[in-house]
Amino acid sequence: MEITIKIFRYNPEKDKKPSYKTYKLEGIETDRVLDLLEKVKGYQDGTLSFRRSCAHGICGSDAMRINGFNRLACKTLVRDVGTRITVEPILGLQVIKDLIVDMEPFFDNYKKVMPWFINNDPEPEKERYQSPAQRELFDDTTKCILCACCTTSCPSFWGSDEYLGPAAFVSAHRFIFDSRDQAAGERLKIVNEVMGVSRCHTAFNCTLACPREIQITKAIGELKMALVTGRLD
């Protein structure tokens, strides 16, 4: 089938402003949008630039706006979006070139929630025990691949990239609800700051955008509840 793909283009070394270019190519229903981008780059326009690596939804490199929704290009098939496809960079981060945006503010926010395991007790000889029920409490938020689909779909983040954003909350949640971790209080303090969870207005965009189907709004709700009740169960 013939596929028409309209792509946001911007080369900072040549273009005064961005534009859209439209390409036509042959494809099949099960082609990933990433396959189409590769073909456009390979046969029609080598200057097209985008990030990609694993090509099956695990590395988180190829988040983009596809027909207006944040998705991973490698996890979006022609049969999901049809044969007329528009591809644009994710919103809220500065475009560097074509579909490549500056990820630094996103990773800076991630780092602010202390996304690392903290337990200052002496290490046991074997593992620290954790029951399956305790493990289950934060299972969902361990799935995050830091693709930024959620954060860059969030109206509060569009308002200010100082806003920590859903992905940072997901990482905070992953540690706060881990029974082995000892820094829940500190992290809760961070997510309670001005640019923290209080700016989440439960638009649910993040949950809809997540390619890992993490229940992000629910996780943020659990953070808010923990702040109100001071309890983690």
């Binding site: 080369n11 900072p12 070394e13 040549k14 099960t30 590769e38 780059k41 390979g42 046969y43 326009d45 080598g46 200057t47 630039s49 985008f50 990030r51 990609r52 690596s53 694993c54 090509a55 099956h56 939804g57 695990i58 590395c59 988180g60 490199s61 996890k75 098939l77 049969r79 560097i96 070139k97 074509d98 490549i100 990773f107 780092k111 202390m114 996304p115 690392w116 395991f117 903290i118 290490e123 046991p124 000889e125 074997k126 593992e127 620290r128 025990y129 954790q130 029951s131 399956p132 305790q134 493990r135 934060f138 361990t142 799935k143 691949i145 830091l146 540690f175 881990d178 082995r180 971790d181």
Partner: protein, 606 residues
């Protein structure tokens, strides 16, 4: 990017240890080296994009959480899995270190799944056995089917916690060698196109594999063999490049990995007639035989007309009713002795990503439908030769190259020999990443910086200049597609002298065509076209070395299976290939013996 005639002012950085690559091995090396030495980790990706993240089923270690197990059993299984080509001293070392390595990951916060009593949960995996009964043993420590993702995240987080310095999205394009020792690397900053020189006392390559040589592959786009391609150009050897693993269960046509953990959880392989064919090929462990054995079985079933609907695929079936049916037939039990039975909800809980992949890419729900699968190029057993401390070696006498290290898939220790066991890639990268980091930092403490060469980027500038100045009459994408096809057809699961000669001829023609390849992007900022063409050059070089190494080996062993030499030949071939490329591009093959400690080579059956 710099032109060859441009001025030579450049960005120079100085670190005691430079780690190239930020997957599991690179992060582990960075974490350990940075404890005592000034260290930087350079990656062409953001670290969390690295391919370690796609590992699914588990990391092997004889914790004996749920049933009897011993590091010695793990070692024997690894030796046998390697078809006796693995070096046994290194294998014993790795398998005994594996236990503490897994506990260390847990202490770093890795969220392993748990047993009812709160211990790390383990599942059976291909080729891992109770050495007394010969039956599968629970040795793969897992976090659902995203164990690699959790390892990558955890190690990156620990690096952040410990303030490890990162250069994200810097493509390393050359190694700086001074008087036979490593003295740094040259990298391109993708965001600016600028060249950077990283002056170092030690360099650790942890760049991963090169599975993008093949058409159907589970490997990331970024797996272009940059590390081995770079060291090879410095006249350093590559070991056992003819051994590349084809994982039995890739999603049909796409090659996306479906973990062996599916079979660990009771899944079975069925041919087009609905028969469980692995009983014929591996009567004892059946669907949990070694990967090379299963990939060959699938290929033979398809070739004999028993693919599904006459197509080039078979089914992997994890529907609860079939899992339970075959578990009953096999008399499979839980650790407490009760019969092994599963429900759809349990499958979904244990294999959520697999279920998701099947729904997204195949439109198939594996709880109610079987999954169409075919073998997929998966893992490089060969690579930069090292000893068991991660030190790179320069010859068949194991002479250490001062300051140069390699760890993870890019390295060939060799612990995987002719065929890697599932879960052992993760063991490898954690254990050898750590030791490479420790060794490099220790070496750096006792060494001075060597003076840099007068013009350390000269080679790279010339290399990119020749790409830029090519006449542009050829298309890189087309060259890439042709290479992948011929390598999959002739250098895949079964090989023959004639087929491999054909592959070599095609690859050499493609290398000629590559000289005329066109690059249309003339910019500096994120010139991914230029980078991708450079990567293709690496893949072509490695495809050639792989093929030349394979043609010479007139036997079948592990992942190298020849129809014209169907048997293993220990008399002639119980040895490692060492391939050297000279300045004119000629490949010379030498050999070195396999280290045997206590496991004498035997006939390998499962």
């Amino acid at each position: 990017m710099h032109s060859i005639r441009e001025d030579r002012t450049m960005n120079t950085h100085q670190f005691e240890v430079i780690v190239v690559g930020a997957g599991g091995a690179g992060l582990m090396a960075g974490l350990y080296a940075s404890k005592t030495a000034k260290t930087a980790v350079i990656s062409k990706l953001y670290p969390t994009r690295s391919h370690t993240g796609t590992a699914q089923g588990g990391i092997g270690a004889a914790l004996a959480s749920q049933e009897e197990d011993h590091p010695e059993w793990h070692a024997f299984d690894t030796v046998k899995g390697s078809d006796y080509l693995g070096d046994q001293d290194a294998i014993e070392f790795m398998c005994s270190e594996a236990v503490d390595a897994v506990y260390e990951l847990e202490h770093m916060g890795l969220p392993f799944d748990r047993t009812p009593d709160g211990k790390i949960s383990q599942r059976p995996f291909g080729g891992h056995t109770n050495n007394v009964t010969g039956k599968p043993v629970r040795r793969a420590c897992h976090a659902a089917d995203r164990t690699g993702h959790m390892i990558l995240q955890t190690l990156y987080q620990q690096c952040l916690k410990n303030n490890v310095t990162f250069y994200d999205e810097f493509q390393v394009v050359d190694l700086i060698m001074v008087r036979g020792a490593a003295a740094g690397v040259v990298a391109i900053e993708l965001a600016t196109g600028e060249l950077h020189v990283f002056h170092a006392k030690t360099v650790i390559f942890a760049t991963g594999g090169h599975g993008r040589i093949w058409e159907i592959t589970s490997n990331a786009y970024s797996f272009t063999g940059d590390g081995p391609a770079i060291t090879m150009r410095h006249g350093l050897p590559l070991e056992d490049m003819e051994f590349f693993q084809f994982h039995p269960t890739g999603i049909y046509k796409l090659g996306i990995l479906i973990t062996e953990g599916v079979r660990g959880e009771g899944g079975i392989l069925l041919n087009g007639k609905g028969e469980r064919f692995m009983e014929k090929y591996a009567p004892k462990v059946k669907d949990l035989a070694s990967r090379d054995v299963i990939s060959r079985a699938i290929y033979l079933e398809i070739r004999e007309g028993r693919g599904v609907n006459g197509q080039n695929y078979v089914y992997l079936d994890v529907r609860p009713e079939n899992v339970n049916k075959y578990a009953a037939l096999d008399g499979r039990t839980n650790p407490d002795g009760s019969p092994f039975r599963v429900t759809g909800e349990q499958i979904l809980a244990k294999l959520p990503d697999i279920v998701d992949f099947c729904r997204v890419y195949l439109g198939v729900d594996p709880i109610t439908q079987p999954m169409p699968i075919q073998p997929t190029a998966h893992y490089a057993m060969g690579g930069i030769p090292t000893n068991m401390y991660g030190e790179a070696i320069s010859d068949e006498k194991n002479t250490v190259i001062p300051g140069l290290y390699a760890a993870g898939e890019v390295a060939c220790v060799s612990v995987h020999g002719a065929n890697r066991l599932g879960t052992n890639s993760l063991v490898d990268l954690v254990v050898f990443g750590k030791h490479a980091g420790l060794r490099a930092a220790e070496f750096a403490k006792g060494a001075d910086f060597q003076p840099l060469p007068a013009d350390p980027t000269a080679f790279v500038r010339a290399q990119f200049e020749s790409i830029r100045n090519a006449d542009g009459k050829d298309n890189a994408f087309d060259i890439s597609v042709t290479m992948k096809k011929v390598m999959f057809d002739e250098m895949g699961i079964f090989r023959s002298g004639k087929g491999m000669e054909h592959a070599l001829q095609v690859v050499r023609e493609l290398k000629e065509r590559f000289k005329h390849v066109s690059v249309t992007d003339t910019g500096k900022i994120f010139n991914m076209e230029m980078i991708n063409v450079w990567e293709l050059g690496n893949l072509l070089d490695l495809a050639e070395v792989t093929t030349v190494s394979a043609i010479a080996r007139s036997e079948s062993r592990g992942g190298h299976s020849r129809e014209d030499y169907p048997d293993r030949d220990d008399k002639q071939w119980l040895k490692h290939t060492m391939a050297y490329v000279d300045e004119k591009g000629r490949i010379e093959l030498k050999y070195k013996p396999v280290v045997i400690t206590k496991y004498e080579p035997k006939v390998r059956t499962y």
